[in-house]
């Protein structure tokens, strides 16, 4: 499993308790996790998906992006 793959999965696990649309968020995560990309690209893809989603899903994705950034920032600092 690539780093990016693991980052998005860990991020999903952390934000799941806070998500309003957990099923939809899981689907999005599965799709993106399937294509292992660099974290910046994952964020960009999530942003492009957000545009077409309902407002509450958009917030869930926004939280997911935030968490990915936290993880990436944490990895860089260690």
């Amino acid at each position: 499993m690539t780093d990016s793959h693991s980052i998005i999965r860990v991020a999903f696990q952390r934000v799941a308790p806070h998500a309003s649309n957990i099923q939809r968020l899981r689907e999005i995560t599965e799709v993106i996790a399937g294509n292992s990309e660099a974290p910046e690209e994952i964020v960009a893809r999530l942003r492009s998906i957000m545009v077409h989603e309902d407002i509450t899903v958009r917030t869930d994705i926004r939280i997911l992006i935030n968490e990915i950034r936290h993880i990436v920032a944490g990895n860089k600092s260690t």
Partner: protein
């Protein structure tokens, strides 16, 4: 170079644009330190010295830098204040800068709409201004909980206000829960102008083991002009008093206030009670002043309060009559004078209130304390002014080991994390200062109680949340006593004009009643379940509604200094006293004269005056007054303990009343002062503590507190009506539980000063406090202050005013004329009551059987003649004869006092005989009873006339 120069250029540009070029002392000192470190801080500076900006500018600076590095998403800074109104004010102050920096700031509290709340869940503001209760609400929130993970700083404004109550206790655990959620240390910054014990308050903010850096600034530079005045009635005031149906001294104060308001741009007049704010507003309207003003207090609706604040700010009104609702940091703009009506009773309150004048950097706080013509009130105001000018603020009494708060926070922890071990819970609660000493046994008892109530459950080694945990937590977010309230609605506009306490409505209001709210009279049209419908009324002679919980205790330190002032005034030569009272205590000439005269009279009467080291026990025949200047809470406890021990020793009930300077004991039998000496010598401090608890258990105060605590601990439903709750039974059932313990702890901590009470007993036993017995023929002037003010701390609060009303009534009664007729027909004379001796008798035959009747009533003498001749009387004559003979019997027994009662409106001999009872001959009690009888007549006269 100043502290602003190290902030980001954008912030400096914004401040310069608004003309803010130089930091205030607190900003100068705090900004560099807050920029440099993430330590916890307590910023201490006078009201209006820019503390908010001192904390917020460096935090916004940091946020602005973070924003430059990456997009912000979540809450980063929480700004917690004790009041929603303060939230709005802080928002207005920082909104512009936040916008300028591209940062978002919003308010969230009980008034926030659902729409706004949803928006915040979707797009959280970077800086959230909120209350402690709302923070509790969002801590376990699904979405908001995530947004809280980015918080790096919490500012707690007016922290002394929270520290003094369970709100602070709850916040201390709440901040720790927040920190655990974030996963790292959060910078905590407390702000206050008036903290007497900064170390304790710092520990409350930060936890007992973490250092807090204290920054004091600006107290030296603060400009305050505080003076105590005692307006005396002029001839014009006396004329005006008749027109207003208001006592002359009160009218003089009213006129003085109106003059002061006219001579200033904008004024805040503070009263100690909501009721009196209403009375004052109503009477001021009666004077028809040339300016507009509003009334502002916590029981008025939010819209009304906001409108009043805005009107003053915009200069549309010149004054606002307010209670503590305007005390805290709300910037009401241009106020250049604060008037405090009657002693504010605490230094902290005096400073908060005076600071409202000249609220703003570089402006002078001007405060006028208007004392009533009462030795306690004048001296207390003076002492508070002196202490305020030297910044001697009372310590905040931080509630410790509050089991109701602990139950709630354990429920919160389990919502945060599902399950925790006993050890985890124990270590987590001990991180908070108020719970630092909780033992494992104590925690076990609390958890057993929670498990028993099914608030949580125990599974093997862990404590877990259960079905009721969430609802228990969310229904009890607030630790503020839950007094049920009813809305008052103006039916002409269908708008809310205020809220009334449920007990006031049920006991005092019915359709047709008049009451004053917002300084205007309203007539009750009908009373529905949750609202009182009323319509504006023209009359002004009506009651202000009363609200409970308005008593402000006078602290030990203030009371002992008041006694010291009396002592020194009595010892010093007049030419030295006057400059001393002027310079140290800022007393006006009239107020000084009153103090000097009253002290001399009291000293002459008692031989010695009481002080911190001397208690004077005055035996005036009908009771004892213990002159003990130890403040409200100490005297409350001393009174309860001594009365309980005297009752036990004598087997006869001893009633007790107290004020901050003395305690009155009365009984149906004489109380020997030696028994009080015995009580002091026979009981040790630990025994006193035990007696206090035993005695408290049976009081109404305890029952009332028990209900509040039981509501918070899920023993009583929150919405249960008080009259439906079998309180005494519940107290018995729960006697050995944390509910009982907490109610007892709360009532003793809030209402009493147990420590000083035990110290008094200890010091008496060591001979450090002298006990001096004084026997007086009639109560000394100092004793009269409690005898005539028995209800000083009752809900209406404004006893001085009530006294004056009674004095006015007494004047009216004494000026009444009666035709007096000797039963032997030797004497028939029309006389004014005031001209008579106490004992009324016939100047010719000395008979005490004197018939009293209206001066125009002349036929009674004829009836007497008929009776003496044995002639038959008509039915009407028989009736008149019976009434007249009843008056004679009352006058023979009670003398002039009987005539005073008979002079009351609608009081006939039958009613008078009910009012005149042997135990009720104290003038004040009697006048109160007459007033009651007159009211009853006024209510029922439609059935009589």
């Amino acid at each position: 170079m100043n502290a602003f120069d190290i902030l980001d250029g954008e912030i400096i540009r914004f401040l310069s644009r608004d003309g803010i070029l130089f930091p205030t002392p607190i900003q100068e000192r705090a900004i560099p330190q807050l920029l440099k470190t993430e330590d916890n801080f307590l910023l201490l500076a006078p009201t209006g010295s820019g503390k908010t900006e001192a904390a917020v500018l460096p935090l916004l600076n940091r946020l602005y830098e973070m924003q430059a590095e990456s997009e912000l998403f979540g809450f980063y800074v929480l700004y917690v204040t004790p009041l929603r109104a303060l939230n709005r004010d802080v928002f207005k102050r920082i909104q512009g800068l936040c916008e300028h920096l591209g940062l978002s700031v919003q308010v969230r509290h009980g008034d926030t709409t659902q729409y706004q709340r949803r928006k915040q869940a979707i797009l959280p503001p970077n800086l959230l201004i909120t209350t402690p209760e709302t923070l509790q609400a969002i801590l376990p929130g699904k979405r908001l909980r995530y947004h809280l993970k980015s918080v790096f700083a919490v500012v707690v404004d007016e922290i002394h206000e929270l520290a003094d109550s369970k709100r602070g206790t709850q916040l201390s655990l709440g901040l720790d829960r927040l920190e655990r959620l974030v996963g790292k240390r959060i910078q905590r910054i407390g702000l206050s102008a008036t903290v007497g014990n900064p170390d304790d308050v710092g520990s409350l903010l930060s936890g007992p083991d973490r250092p807090v850096r204290k920054i004091w600034a600006g107290y030296d530079a603060r400009q305050m002009q505080l003076d105590v005045v005692m307006p005396q009635p002029t001839d014009d005031d006396i004329v005006m008093a008749r027109r207003l149906h208001y006592p002359p001294h009160s009218t003089a104060r009213l006129r003085y206030i109106v003059d002061q308001i006219s001579n200033h741009n904008s004024t805040i007049v503070f009263t100690n009670t909501r009721s009196f704010a209403e009375v004052l507003g109503s009477k001021m309207r009666g004077l028809d002043p040339s300016f507009d003003f509003d009334v502002h207090h916590g029981s008025l609706s939010k819209d009304v309060r906001l409108a009043a604040e805005d009107r003053l700010k915009e200069g549309k009104s010149k004054a606002i009559v307010a209670t503590s609702s305007l005390e805290l940091g709300i910037d009401i703009g241009q106020a250049d004078l604060v008037i405090q009506y009657s002693s504010p009773r605490e230094v902290r309150r005096a400073l908060q209130r005076s600071g409202r004048a000249g609220h703003g950097v570089g402006r002078k706080a001007k405060g006028l304390f208007i004392a009533t013509a009462n030795l306690d009130d004048i001296t207390e105001s003076a002492v508070i002014v002196r202490r305020a000018l030297s910044n001697k603020v009372e310590a905040a009494a931080i509630p410790e080991r509050s089991w109701d708060v602990l139950c709630h926070q354990i429920a919160g922890m389990l919502l945060d994390e599902d399950r925790l071990s006993f050890d985890e819970i124990h270590s987590r609660i001990r991180v908070a200062y108020p719970f630092r000493n909780v033992t494992r046994e104590e925690l076990e008892r609390v958890l057993d109680f929670m498990i028993d109530r099914k608030l949580v459950k125990k599974e093997k080694d862990s404590i877990e949340r259960w079905g009721k945990t969430r609802i228990f937590y969310y229904e009890r977010l607030s630790t503020i006593p839950d007094v049920q309230q009813v809305s008052a609605i103006d039916i002409t506009s269908r708008t809310g004009i205020g809220v009334l306490d449920e007990d006031y409505v049920s006991e005092n209001i019915e359709a047709g009643s008049l009451f004053v709210i917002r300084g205007r009279p309203y007539r009750v049209v009908s009373i529905e379940e949750d609202e009182v419908l009323c319509a504006p009324a023209g009359e002004s002679d009506s009651d202000a509604p009363r609200w409970i919980g308005e008593m402000i205790p006078v602290p030990f330190e203030v009371a002992t200094e008041v006694a010291e002032v009396w002592k020194r005034t009595g010892q010093m030569e007049k030419n030295r006293v006057v400059p001393w009272l002027t310079q140290q205590y800022r007393l006006s000439k009239e107020a000084q004269e009153h103090v000097i005269e009253a002290v001399a009279g009291s000293r002459q009467c008692l031989g010695k005056l009481s002080s911190k080291n001397r208690i004077v026990i005055e035996d005036f025949g009908n009771g004892l007054v213990l002159h003990a200047p130890y403040g409200t809470k100490t005297n409350e406890a001393l009174g309860i303990v001594i009365a309980a021990l005297l009752t036990t020793r004598r087997g006869v009930d001893v009633a007790v009343e107290r004020d901050p300077y003395r305690i009155l004991f009365s009984s149906s039998e004489r109380i020997d002062p030696q028994h009080v000496l015995d009580v002091f010598s026979e009981y040790s401090p630990p025994q006193v503590s035990a007696v206090l608890r035993l005695a408290m258990k049976n009081t109404q105060t305890f029952s009332s507190r028990f209900v509040h605590v039981a509501r918070r601990m899920d023993v009583i439903r929150r919405d249960a009506k008080l009259r439906e709750v079998p309180v005494r039974l519940l107290i018995t059932i729960y006697e050995d539980t944390p509910v009982f313990e907490e109610a007892m702890r709360e009532v003793i901590a809030d209402k009493m000063d147990e420590q000083h009470t035990m110290e008094v007993f200890d010091r008496v036993s060591k001979g450090e406090i002298e006990l001096h017995i004084a026997t007086t023929e009639r109560p000394s002037p100092l004793a009269r202050l409690i005898l005539e003010e028995r209800t000083r701390f009752e809900v209406m609060g404004e006893i001085t005013e009530e006294d004056e009303v009674l004095r006015m009534m007494e004047e009216r009664l004494l000026s009444t004329k009666f035709r007096l007729l000797c039963v032997n027909r030797h004497w028939n004379s029309v006389r004014t009551i005031s001209t008579l001796e106490e004992e009324v008798s016939c100047p010719i035959c000395e008979s005490k059987m004197i018939l009293a009747m209206h001066p125009s009533q002349k036929n009674v003498e004829k009836i007497l003649a008929k009776v003496s001749k044995g002639e038959k009387l008509s039915q009407t004559e028989r009736k008149e004869y019976r009434r007249a003979m009843l008056t004679a019997s009352l006058i023979s027994e009670y003398g002039k006092t009987a005539l005073i009662v008979l002079a009351g409106r609608g009081i006939g001999p039958d009613t008078a005989s009910r009012v005149l009872r042997p135990g009720r001959l104290a003038r004040r009690d009697l006048l109160q009873e007459i007033a009651k009888a007159e009211k009853m007549y006024a209510r029922t006269r439609q059935f009589w006339d």
